[in-house]
């Protein structure tokens, strides 16, 4: 892997959940625990689709070449219920993504954490309008 793909050996700062128990499919079958990574890039497109949304991110490599990565995130339904729209994460948003690369070695990864430039995690800590953890009734 070239460029901004940085192998993370052990990132103790990751905030991790046991919530994967409710995963829709076996993530370990799709992504490789032996290929942790950190990507930095700007958002090209967010597919707000089910059962998992996909973030298209442009990652600039040292030689100036830009590669497009697809990053798997969660179902958007609850976010929508909490007031999140596509405009919440505008195209061009700079993201740092910590995750694991696809087993087939393609430019795909699961986004363990989506981190904004100010260090906050996407959709957490009130970073999203209405995203305070409550359903809108």
């Amino acid at each position: 892997m070239r460029a901004k793909l940085v192998v993370v050996v052990a990132c103790a700062g990751l905030l991790l959940m046991v919530g994967q128990a409710r995963a829709h499919h076996a993530f370990a079958a799709e992504f490789d625990v032996n290929k942790p990574l950190t990507l930095k890039g700007s958002l090209i497109k967010w597919e707000m689709v089910n059962p998992h949304s996909w973030f298209h991110v442009a990652v600039k490599e040292p030689d100036g070449k830009v590669t497009e990565w697809l990053i798997e995130g969660g179902s958007p339904n609850q976010l929508i219920r909490m007031g999140v729209t596509k405009n919440t994460v505008p195209i061009g948003t700079e993201l740092t993504i910590e995750g694991y690369r696809a087993k087939d070695g393609g430019l795909k990864a699961v986004g363990r954490n989506f981190v904004l430039p100010d260090g906050s995690r996407l959709f957490l800590g009130g970073s999203a309008p209405g995203g305070t953890g409550g359903d809108k009734k």
Binding site: A10, M17, A29
Partner: protein, 348 residues
């Protein structure tokens, strides 16, 4: 340990986590969670008169969720049917905290996106609170009856058939039906909490009740005109449902399952009887009884209240095949290739 073994271990870990999560969840509903209706296990429909639809049916319409921290079966060591309110709140806190616990970076269990960042942990959505220690109310011990010999043989036969079909990631057809976006566990009947997006919409029209399940977008259209069930040869993923009103309670009987989405190992001849009673503006008492002599020697009944929640329901339009399935199959082929190359090197 090779990669495949790692995956297998990972799956085992996931299964264990599900069991653990369910066990812990057993202890209560969420506190950090939305202030959902605090359903007491009071007798249904005593002091409340539900509104009526224009055609005179008790009105069940709206958006509902059965999200809960109460487990289906009573946890080991718990002997009572109900927690006190304080115990229930404490159990919810523990369960919510458990959901927020970290997994170890670099471990198979860590390979996933962060559910909390997408609002998918239960504490970020409405939950249907209950003081019950288990959803199962009959048998009185809160446990599903043991599977009988016939049911055990069916389970063994199904496992053998899966094994004969090859590895889970050998083909699309071998993968779980939920992963293939065909139907999600919990679509029902019986309607079981799906873990996240556990939402439903009920719409009534003269002679019909419609129940939309958010996860993978399944719909049941239930006629209320006493029509007979179709012949046994007519079988569907969610069975065939027929409904009737008994006072303010909607009673729905479902048979004619296709057996491909077996509920806890049941046979295709399972019969599910559901009872919906609106007991408050924001709560439906929902009970279901499962009857399948080919699996259990006695019927069993559970109570899983539906709490009012926000709408509308965003379309699910599950399209896993466009990415996830392809990625999983490609990953499995890449692993096989790598193994073959290693084996070749080893033999040289």
């Amino acid at each position: 340990m090779n990669r495949r073994s790692l995956v297998s271990v990972g799956i085992l870990v996931l299964v264990a986590a599900v069991v653990l999560s369910a066990t812990i969840a057993a202890q209560a509903p969420a506190s950090a969670a939305k202030a959902a209706p605090a359903a007491k296990a009071a007798p249904a429909g005593k002091a409340y008169t539900p509104p009526k639809t224009p055609d005179g049916q008790p009105d069940l319409q709206g958006f509902w969720t059965n999200s809960t921290y109460v487990p289906l079966e009573r946890p080991q060591g718990v002997t009572k049917e109900f927690y006190t309110p304080d115990e229930a709140e404490e159990a919810i806190k523990k369960a919510a905290a458990r959901e927020a616990e970290q997994t170890e970076p670099g471990t198979t269990a860590d390979v996933h996106y962060d559910f909390s960042q997408f609002g998918l942990d239960r504490s970020q959505s409405t939950i249907a609170k209950s003081l019950r220690t288990s959803l199962v109310v009959d048998p009185p011990d809160g446990k599903i009856p043991p599977v009988n010999a016939q049911g055990q043989k069916r389970a063994a036969d199904r496992a053998a058939a899966r094994k004969a079909a090859g590895g889970q990631y050998d083909s699309v057809q071998n993968m779980p039906i939920g992963s293939r976006c065909i139907i999600m566990g919990g679509a029902g009947p019986p309607m079981m909490n799906a873990g996240y997006n556990a939402n439903y919409q009920i719409v009534q029209s003269p002679g019909y009740v419609m129940i939309l399940t958010e996860m993978i977008h399944d719909v049941r259209v239930i006629p209320l005109d006493n029509r007979t069930q179709p012949p046994q040869g007519v079988r569907q993923w969610t069975g065939v449902s027929r409904g009737r009103w008994e006072g303010n309670t909607l009673v729905v009987e479902t048979t004619n399952f296709n057996g491909k989405n077996a509920f806890r190992g049941a046979s295709e001849n399972m019969k599910v009887t559901e009872r919906f009673t609106r007991v408050a503006d924001d709560m439906i008492d929902y009970k279901f009884t499962v009857e399948d002599p080919a699996t259990w020697d006695r019927t069993w009944t559970a109570e899983a209240p539906l709490a009012k929640t926000g709408g509308p329901i965003f379309e699910f339009a599950c399209h896993e095949t466009n990415y996830g399935i392809a990625n999983i199959l490609a990953g499995a082929r890449a692993e096989e290739k790598q193994k073959a190359e290693q084996a070749k090197k080893g033999s040289n």
